[in-house]
Amino acid sequence: MKMKKLASLALALALGVSLVACGGGNGAQSSVSSSGTGSQSGTGSQSGTGSQSQEPQEPAAPQLSGTMKVVATNETYVTLFDEFTADTGVKVELLSMSSGDVLSKLRAEGGTPSADLWFGGGIDAFMSAKADGLLEQVTFDAAADLADDFKDAEGYWYSKGLTIVGFLLNNTLMGELSLEAPATWDDLLDPSYKGEIIMSNPAISGTNYAVVNALLQTKEDGWSYFEALNENIAQYGRRGADPMTKVTADEFAIGITYLDGTIDALLDQYDVEIVYPSDGIPWIPDGVAVFKNAENVEAAKYFVEWLFSSDENLRLLAEIDQKTSVKIIKPNLEGIELGYDPAILMKEDLSLFGAQRAEILEKFEPLMGDKAVNE
């Protein structure tokens, strides 16, 4: 009886040993297991091959192959990358991930990134990655058409649009609490708003970091402004979308949030209102970069060139992003009109965004603590 049971043991052994073997030599395994799941992106490769010829300004595609791995801020970019696959034959695997997550991972990986392209996210994270030597330099002819203020002088990062910041008001709560709608940043200091304003922790949210940095740059005594504002702020959300979600959930009356097409869409769903502060709108570029030492650097580099060299691709991007700000990035872009007057944007020295980040956030941190404990 017991003699017949060896096979079960053999299986056991095989399992146990395979665990060890898995730990042993896996240089090859990474490519095997990662290339298997590109189903969502490879669909359009036959239908779109002719579009290349209709794009005279588009450079000839180099010989590219394999899979390009992308970390992006949204999975809806899949349509844009499908176009890229159609034009080049490079499969794309997309993962939606916040830029803080990307940067931590990148640092832990110690120069062996597991993605090729970084698509979207506050430019402060890109500046930080450049400073750490984690990004690949990308240069191409059409880069000359891009406004100087919105690209890295050495080509380590580009930006695909601007994210602007304003207020989202909950009309129901504003009414119940008989509050006047704030029109400017200074209005937010009114004591009647105490405990009714929510913003995001600027360490987490690129857009709310832009608010802090831009107001510090433009206001004479920026820090006292934020100390006064802190009196009115209920909490600093630990996720970028917190102000939006908590205002729409009737939890707080005023949220300091990014403004784009998705926020406009909220007007149809909730009783909310958008305010573009009349004393200036802080903004932050939305970055694009290629990871240094990535497995498919060539494809990622070509993607950057492919995107910025073609107005058609940029229009598709603007449509997905629900933003018109790409017109500011590439002023000669046709077919897109800016949705707001660029004069309302605050004057920002972008170079300070990266340089001052650590210092500003360290000074800001005590403000965000528990009021009950600090008192």
């Binding site: 017949k4 060890v20 990474s30 297991s33 695997e93 939890e251 769903q269």
Partner: protein, 563 residues
Amino acid sequence: MSKAAGPDFPLRKRASHDALFPAVRQLADQLILLALLASICLFILYPMVCILWRSLQDGDGVSFAMYAHVWRKYRQSLYNSMLTATCTALLCTAFSVAAALLTATGKGWLRVLGMGLLLITMVSPPFVSSLAYIQLYGRRGWITYRVLGLSLDPYNCWGVILMQSLSFVPVNALFLMGMLTKMDQGSLLAARDLGARPKHILRDVVLPLIRPGILVCLLLSFVRSLADFGTPVIIGGRFSTIASDIYMQLMGFSDLEKASAMNMTLLLPSVAAFFLYRYLMVKTGSTSGERSQQRGLWLPLHRCGALGGILAGGGIFFFLVLVLQYICIFASGFIKRVKGVSVFTLDHLERLMRYNADTLVRSMVYALIVALAGTFFAMLFSYYVYRRKVRFGSFFDCLATLPYMLPGTCFGIGYILAFNHPPLKLTGTALIVIANMLFKQLPTTTKICTAALAQIPDAQEKAVRDLGGDKLTVIKDVILPGMRPAFLSCFAYNFSSSMTTSGAVLFLIDPGNQLAVFRLFDAVNKGEYSMAALIATFIILIVVVVEGLVYLLASRKEKAHVS
């Protein structure tokens, strides 16, 4: 006995091993052991050392400067963590005892309902409970504002404590239920026949008998609370704990050195709690010796005086809150707002299917692999360490317990640090995710297996040896078949944990191997609450269906085997 239990063990195939020399079999036995211990070192010790090493990096040398900095700057958070964990442990254990007693003493369908609710809510996808909490009890929450007319600020330490307490209850309550049903009913009935009133039986017989279980619940909840970052991040408001500060360091500053040092600091209270746990478990190890009975517990709670009333009330309150919370989660996935009015929609479902259908399938496949491989690993490991008492066994046992005490984010970062260079380059592969889940869950699965092992009499093993069987024969004919009950528990635990694990995978996921729980995290980050709720619903559904199938399969085999 071994003959009776053997023939349908899942891994069994017919083969002849007459030809094998005893020496080869001896070698095989040693190889299994070596493989087990080597994997523990590679997948638990090595990543830990990497984290420790990183925390000691200081620009140009090795120093403890970061620890001094953490101690200076985060003392308040450390205090908050300890306070939260202590309160959570107490409150959660109270709820657990109440829920367990209420279910165990319930009659007929009430008992089944209670068990069902506990089993479903044991699958607790991260983050969404906290979101439901805000919807129900926020400043404009359905319950607090619309029903009770209150406008409470839930974003503080009490919100965190309450939420953690509730979400840790199901596991604890099921564990206590196990003890209650295994309890010697004789002493209860004897006490009754001797004229003891129910309230005295509760106070003097039942509660003392499950005291070791209560202590275990206290300590496990304490450790879990320390490591939980999701709850304070979502509903903490301005309140922060060390775990939520670690999250901020990783997500906001990408400061690995500081985050590592903070993790190591957090490890101290966890390790202390765990050694206390081990000490208590050794003292009370004999309680799991008896077979469980599927009968209800004779103890009318409503006749147990004030204590019984409080317990029954607490249990009912817990179940009510739990049911509301899960209804809220299930409903949110199918609701959208039009002009301020909530309407039914399939939009979220359609979007999920368009972008993430493969993600759901992949999650299920990974979880199945972890459930099978992990369970098998845990069975072998507990046999070698607890039964064979190999050299340095207790050292390896401590190692295997470490992952329980680490915040998941830390364990994940450790894996990236450890496996990002050849010859051990695993980053970007499915294997790193699977290994991480397996070893993160090993502490619990080995505990389950060890308990099952204790029920296999030594004599059986000796008999096989006396009849000429060697160590391998013992493993396959006595140990593995004897641990079949543990197989189900381990499988269920491994599967549901793999589907809902939150911390570690946040850093191990790459384009091309996204998991449902990561998409859930991303949805929560983007404020897509409906999507998050829908993914959570799917996760719960998948776990309940898969585990139900495995349970049915196992019980059918058992029946076939009995006949």
